[in-house]
């Protein structure tokens, strides 16, 4: 047996682990898990575990529902929120077809394909996402735990304890946390993960979302990554810092450029900007996502880039001398309810497209574009992100770039699923309409 499998078996014995959860992700980004006993593990490591994929969102195919989950031994970790004795561990699994080939509907496999493309061009893709979320008293409403604001240090703050417990759990699972703080809205928080390669980071995002929810539940409250749970206050985003490296060197950095961006860095940003509208359905995949992407709440609406202006869609943080490794681009539109494997895949694909085709970086946006009139923006050639899921999915459906990045299986299923969601939504009669119309019409 190979050494890493032996090591996992040893850890299971040493830690008195009775159950091992195999984790994978459906196309919409929900974490799926099935448990095997420690006795079955050796076999699972050698041959994978078969399961019926027909009821997993985005996995279903008519002829074939048998799939095999192959544990990724590098992701073995004990779940710190489960009992210490007779505990539970998890491993992420790659989903394969019965013949052993990677299953094209598995988001982890989709990301690996895109990372392979980057590797062929000589690049490693690093990401650092900042996921915001809300704590509420329960999942029935949006009653907040506190009325704190950005970076507020509130005494006797339950949420501060929750954050602390969450960070300790994440660290125990090998997820590195950079910092955490109270966000702008009441009861809104953010824990930032230290940047790493996109595959590890996607696994970490899945772990993070579960850890936040688990720890909240253990403390009798509810945590949500819903993009815009409360009207009138900031929604939750997942600003994603991205960089591409060649070996040890940041391929985006050039000391002599006025923005300290290399030709590759400039084209990467240009690629993100040019393709941003067609990526949006993947980065903001729910009806509710578009309630966040409105003016006035620090969420991006217009397609532009800037160094200082935080309302821009893409920010290139100012260079600090000696920190060339930190040269990066920050995409501010994604929300934390996306599927990270697919979101990182399409961002990367857009950036690489920019590099391959040698896109020119448009001019930096200097003014606050939110104060401009629609005409002024049109004069400057500033595009707008899609207004709602319907607009977004229409653009995505036409996108060769997204189709290639996601692969036909995921692409087709995703577009169909999102049209279904939109059609269901648009037929609803909302409280807004009743409030506004019932008494006057």
């Amino acid at each position: 047996m190979v050494k890493d499998a032996e090591y996992v078996l040893k850890q299971v014995r040493d830690n008195d682990i009775k159950f091992i959860h195999l984790w994978f992700t459906d196309v919409l980004g929900f974490l799926k898990s099935f448990a095997i006993t420690a006795d079955e593990l050796e076999n699972a490591l050698a041959e994978g575990m078969g399961f019926d994929g027909s009821s997993i969102e985005g996995f279903s195919r008519i002829q074939e529902s048998d799939m095999v989950a192959f544990p990724d031994t590098g992701t073995f970790s004990v779940l710190p929120w489960r009992p210490e004795q007779q505990g539970v561990a998890r491993m992420f699994a790659d989903v394969r077809n019965p013949d052993g080939s990677p299953f094209e509907g598995d988001p982890r496999n989709v990301l690996k394909r895109n990372l392979e493309r980057a590797a062929k061009m000589g690049y490693t893709f690093y990401v650092g996402p900042e996921l915001e979320y809300f704590y509420f008293k329960d999942s029935d409403g949006t009653e907040v735990l506190d009325h704190g604001g950005y970076f507020d240090l509130t005494p006797l703050d339950l949420a501060r304890d929750l954050r602390r417990q969450t960070i300790l759990s994440l660290q125990a699972m090998g997820v590195d946390v950079e910092y955490s703080h109270h966000e702008v809205a009441p009861s809104q928080h953010e824990i930032d993960l230290r940047y790493t390669d996109a595959l590890t980071m996607s696994d970490s995002v899945m772990t993070y979302r579960l850890a936040v929810k688990e720890i909240a539940q253990q403390n009798g409250v509810y945590a949500t990554f819903m993009p815009k749970p409360i009207f009138g206050v900031n929604g939750s985003g997942m600003h994603t810092h991205q960089s591409i490296f060649r070996g040890d060197d940041n391929a985006m950095f050039d000391a002599n450029d006025e923005y300290h961006l290399s030709a590759e860095g400039r084209s990467y940003v240009a690629g993100i900007l040019k393709h941003a509208p067609e990526l949006t359905a993947v980065l903001n995949q729910w009806v509710n996502s578009y309630k966040r992407l409105v003016p006035g709440y620090e969420a991006p609406v217009y397609v532009c880039w800037a160094r200082r202006n935080r309302s821009a869609l893409v920010r290139v943080p100012m260079y600090k001398p000696g920190k060339e490794k930190a040269t990066r681009v920050e995409l501010r539109s994604p929300d934390p309810a996306c599927n990270p494997y697919l979101a990182f895949s399409v961002m990367l694909a857009a950036g690489l497209e920019g590099i391959e085709k040698g896109y020119e970086l448009p001019a930096e946006s200097m003014n606050n574009i939110y104060e401009m009139t629609a005409e002024e923006r049109a004069d400057c050639g500033i595009e707008t992100l899609p207004e709602d899921l319907y607009e977004a999915i229409k653009l995505t459906e036409q996108s060769e770039l997204v189709r290639k990045a996601l692969g036909d299986h995921v692409f087709k299923w995703f577009v169909r699923n999102k049209y279904d969601e939109w059609n269901e939504y648009k037929a609803q009669v909302s409280p807004y309409e009743l409030d506004r119309y019932l008494s006057i019409l």
Partner: protein, 222 residues
Amino acid sequence: MEIAIFSNDSPLARAVADETVATGHAARAVDFGDDWTADFAERPVGVAIVDVTADSSAARRVSSALRESAAGRKVRQIAVVEADSLGKEPIPPTVDDLAVYPFRPGELASKLRLIEDGWRASSVALVFGDVVIDTAAYEVRLNGVPVALTFKEQELLHFLTSNPDRVFSRSQLLTQVWGYDYFGGTRTVDVHIRRLRFKLGSEMESRIQTVRNVGYKFASNI
């Protein structure tokens, strides 16, 4: 420790088996023609005694097959030869030791005890202050308490400590520990180094050194 005796049911083999049992170890008779691989994988043996006098070419075959198989690679081999045929029969070059029958009193017991003790001793490979790296048992202890390391952390630590005072670039470490088909970049190395330093305490923190603009090295002296 269980001892396998490879022979063809010769009187010598039976005598050796009796003496083995008398030393307090379990003996398992294996015929030269038996397929022992599955059996060894299931019930590991510590020492294989190969009867050269009974059939020297069969002994040679078995001895090299043991060396080449995953199940038999770590098994210590002792060739046993009758005093009369000493120098007449070729000894397989792949054995670790030679014993001439009849044994002197206590000889077999001493040989087996040496092997057994050697196993225990060799499994504590490296000690650095309050940290013990037990490579055979895949375990690292800080002040006697096992430290939970991931497989790659363990591998990286093992690679660095077994090549002390040499500077490795991140790319070299990535290739050595993660292999060529890995998706993450050299950043992965930094992350693992940081976790190792964090988990292993201050002594190791100062031994695992960053060499600016080059990479990392493990200092054998601090």
